[in-house]
């Protein structure tokens, strides 16, 4: 059953109950009103008769109407069933009786026959009228319930339509509602934003991975082509082989790093210490424009996957080339190495561009890699100076 039908049914049942209760109350109110009116009428009549009796009891004329009759106790035509009634007002099923004690052991009975009263005589018509009113009220109630059900469920249907459209766009009107539908809309919109951000990050990662792998792949393919080239001399072919070997090593490293980043492979610790200085020297040979001033307190003794250290340092050096200030002598940077940390500090050419790239090249990846290795990666931009620090362990 749809939400709107449920709402309609609930409202409809409520309307029926209310209408029936109203009908019962109305009928009771009519009866009560009739009794009060008759009681009042009997008391007025009794007061007049009592006064007449005290003035001249012999000439007292008792009412003898179809509905209202008067009797005095001890008279022959007084019905015997009145004898047990004490002075006061009595309401039996068909009669209403008022008993007044005129003098000791002398009672006046006023009897109102309800069977031929206005209500009882017109009971069928009144009931029909009441049933008609109840039916009309129920119909109106059902119509209103149906309309309200649809009106209340319309924003939900609209929200569902917008959700199923799949583009994540929710109308401002729904988002700004101050009710549960507004809450649901906002929650959905926030969820969609999170999903979109996640997808964007995944796409960026895939693009980055594709880009990083396609360069060494290009090197391998191009050098294969170069080796097949009959015009290439031996020296050129040897260079090609060397380049292909380097590209393969680079691809292997990158695939390992991507697997770590994709959390498909746990980091494997190594028993052998990684040669920090050796990895740095190897990387610097690929970045001839970087002029590194080294402040070495102690080379760190690390037991970690060498590829991971390679990737972290590679990103830090690439970041210098991407965003560092280049002078005529190249990119100047200061490297401080201690037993538990390594930091690189350099001037940047455009602080705004650095802030737009969330700090610089490869830093998000470095953060993830350092988490995987149990290290801590921090970077900071102060004015035109950039500093990145890796704390080991």
């Amino acid at each position: 059953m749809t939400f709107s039908n449920r709402l309609s049914l609930t409202f409809g049942i409520f309307t029926v109950v209310i209408s029936l209760l109203f009908a019962v109350l109305f009928a009771d109110a009519l009866n009560l009103l009739e009794e009060k009116l008759i009681g009042s009428l009997l008391r007025q009549e009794a007061a007049v008769l009592e006064e007449g009796y005290r003035r001249d009891s012999a000439s007292l004329v008792l009412p003898d109407l179809e509905q209202l009759k008067g009797y005095l106790s001890g008279q022959r035509d007084t019905p015997e069933w009145l004898a047990p009634f004490d002075p006061g007002y009595h309401d039996s099923q068909d009669f209403q009786v008022l008993v007044v004690e005129l003098e000791p052991e002398r009672f006046l009975y006023l009897v109102y026959d309800e069977r031929i009263g206005v209500l009882d005589r017109n009971e069928a018509e009144i009931n029909l009228l009441l049933a008609g009113v109840v039916a009309v009220v129920m119909l109106i109630g059902f119509a209103l319930a149906w309309t309200q059900g649809r009106r209340l469920s319309a924003p939900l249907v609209k929200l569902a339509d917008q959700m199923s459209a799949g583009n994540g766009a929710i109308e401002r009107e729904l988002l700004e509602r101050d009710d549960e539908i507004g809450l649901l809309s906002r929650s959905y919109a926030e969820q969609m934003e999170r999903i979109e951000a996640f997808i964007a990050r995944e796409q960026a990662f895939t693009q980055h991975a594709s880009h990083e792998l396609s360069t060494p792949l290009s090197i391998i393919r191009s050098n294969l082509e170069l080796m097949r080239e009959p015009r290439a001399d031996v020296e050129m072919q040897q260079k090609s082989v060397a380049r292909m070997e380097q590209a393969i090593a680079r691809m292997q490293r990158q695939i390992g790093i991507f697997l770590v980043l994709a959390r498909e492979e746990q980091l494997r610790g190594t028993e052998e210490a990684v040669d920090f200085e050796g990895v740095l020297e190897e990387l610097l040979s690929d970045h001839p424009d970087i002029v590194l001033e080294r402040v070495v307190e102690e080379w760190p003794a690390l037991h970690v996957d060498a590829d991971l250290l390679h990737a972290v340092l590679q990103n830090m050096l690439s970041n210098i080339e991407r965003h560092g200030e280049r002078t005529s002598g190249g990119y100047f940077a200061t490297l401080c190495v201690g037993s538990h940390s390594c930091s690189i500090r350099n001037r940047i050419d455009d602080p705004l561009r650095v802030s737009q790239t969330r700090g610089g090249f490869g830093l998000q990846i470095n953060r993830k890699l350092c988490i995987a290795a149990g290290w801590k990666f921090e970077h900071k931009v102060t004015g035109d100076t950039f500093a990145a620090t890796v704390t080991f362990g």
Binding site: S214, T215, L217, S218, L226, R231, S240, R243, E321, R326
Partner: protein
């Protein structure tokens, strides 16, 4: 051919250099966009092979700045970015061709030959015809220092005339440059040329837009 190779990966750059040297091309190498822009504006190259992701200045920015400086050197963009959006961005920045990594060196050489055959682009920088100056990048026109306001159609007309100047441009060519294959039935070209002439020539001593009856139009100082 003299080629400028802009690539931050030294191994790839060396490979391309080796192959192009076998093809008897002279290759100059730049590691980043800033150095490349300096070389490309100072020297004359038959073509530029350009990586997109580079230190200091990326390939897109390099291309934009090269065109703004009026250099029409053919540019072949070489990148791992292979989405349609990336390609469109490349063409919008002013590149002439696009090759995605990994690629075949033979294809690279073939594309370079095709680019060099076409020669440098003429629709970049500022073109002067007499005292009329047309800035293609900024879409700005001035005559004797006075800025002229042209709408999109009028600029397209003037651009077509300026690129062929002082030569004649046929009516059909002009119509195609504005409306492509959907040329209007009425003689709308005549109306646009009339309006363009009012803007470019009215109030100036020397008329620059000339009509060759039954043939077309030309922009020249006669």
């Amino acid at each position: 051919m003299r080629i400028l190779l802009v690539e931050d990966d030294q191994d790839l750059a060396s490979t391309i250099q080796d192959y192009l040297s076998l093809e008897s091309h002279a290759v100059d190498y730049a590691h980043d966009g800033v150095v490349a822009l300096h070389l490309a504006t100072e020297l004359e190259f038959d073509a530029v092979i350009l990586d997109v992701a580079m230190p200091r200045m990326d390939g897109l920015e390099f291309c934009k700045r090269l065109r703004v400086q009026g250099k029409g050197t053919p540019v072949l963009m070489l990148t791992a970015r292979n989405t349609l959006e990336d390609k469109l961005l490349g063409f919008e920045s002013g590149t002439d061709d696009y090759l995605t990594k990994p690629f075949a060196l033979e294809e690279l050489a073939a594309r370079l030959r095709a680019l060099s055959t076409r020669g440098p682009r003429s629709d970049v920088g500022v073109r002067a015809v007499g005292d009329l100056q047309i800035d293609f990048e900024r879409q700005a026109v001035s005559r004797s220092g006075k800025a002229l306001k042209l709408n999109r159609v009028q600029f397209a007309l003037l651009k077509a005339l300026a690129l062929a100047s002082p030569g004649l441009v046929s009516r059909e060519s002009l119509e195609y440059s504005i409306w492509g294959d959907e040329v209007p039935e009425s003689d709308a070209l005549r109306t646009h040329v009339y309006r363009l002439r009012n803007i470019v020539d009215r109030g100036f001593e020397t008329p620059l837009i000339h009509t060759a009856h039954g043939k077309g139009f030309r922009l020249a100082v006669d």
